[in-house]
Symmetry: C2
Subunit: 205 residues, 2 copies
Amino acid sequence: MELESREAEPGTVRPGGRTARVRAAVLQAAGDVLAERGFAHLDLADVARRAGVGKTTVYRRWGTVTALVADLLVDMAEQSLPRSRTGSLIGDLKANARLVQRTLTDPRQGPLFKAVIAAATCDPRTAEALRRFYDTRISEWAPCVQEAVERGELPEGTDPREVIRAVSAPLYYRLLASGDPLDEAAADRAAEAAAAAAHAGVYAR
Amino acid sequence: MELESREAEPGTVRPGGRTARVRAAVLQAAGDVLAERGFAHLDLADVARRAGVGKTTVYRRWGTVTALVADLLVDMAEQSLPRSRTGSLIGDLKANARLVQRTLTDPRQGPLFKAVIAAATCDPRTAEALRRFYDTRISEWAPCVQEAVERGELPEGTDPREVIRAVSAPLYYRLLASGDPLDEAAADRAAEAAAAAAHAGVYAR
């Protein structure tokens, strides 16, 4: 049954509920295609069919593949887990590193990120959407660094966003470039390296 | 004039010289297409035409686009600059970081790397060729870390390859994911962070 057709059952759907369900179904289908087949195979009509949503709804709401991927990234940022609060900088950074590591090695999320990053290399609007995704995630985790500065664990003036970026960087480098194993040991080492550099004042302005 | 036709002038070309020139012309053309248009537009017949080389030569020698890109990466590794020797770990790591930063922001090399990395996300043979490229580059620079261990600048057991990877990682993360500026300050900070983490023993086995 197409979600579209549920509109014919008044009273069974809360106002706004259908719109949210359509979006969820379409973004799920778009993510599936990206993870399974890559950006080059993403097609609005195919996504509509997989999502069980009318083609015209998808064209009217998203219009282009690029806009659909941008909306998927907004949703991924919204759905992402809130930061952990372990009480220590190294604990927080390891929790962040493990979360990134689990995401990038997840059978669905890993290929999905690869596909979006590949698309971003040749599409400026996808690159901008990806940049906003990381911006949101970095904003979520940056306070753990600021708290460490306030506790006196790190030098005054440490740039919290640079520290969070430093945790992710070695994990993405493994995923995209060197192909080295992306295991928990790599995640812990990424966190320890970022903490050591922060302690040494490398990220202080 | 097609390079192919030069075969008709015996004595003017040293044995092996023509083969090397054909390879250089074809790899140059392949790199141009990758940098200008991306992996999806790479086509052996088009590369042959741009290189001024017979199509059958290109098909016989490389066979597939994937094999051509793999050979381009072998050539890029061979053509890459040898490591600098500044006498100090931080000097050597900064030289490495600046070289990576200049390469990734070069108007031709930057898009070329992006295109190859994008291709590697969905093509295992290209991913393997890319892995070998980084392996070669890391082997070139790893001795500067080993020398720092021998000078007593770094803890015994420091993994030289991990330190060199740590220098590159933040620069690739900026290029491919976060979109943050890829400037000399970022390069220097990448080197300083890797050195600080290495000093703290993060990369000691």
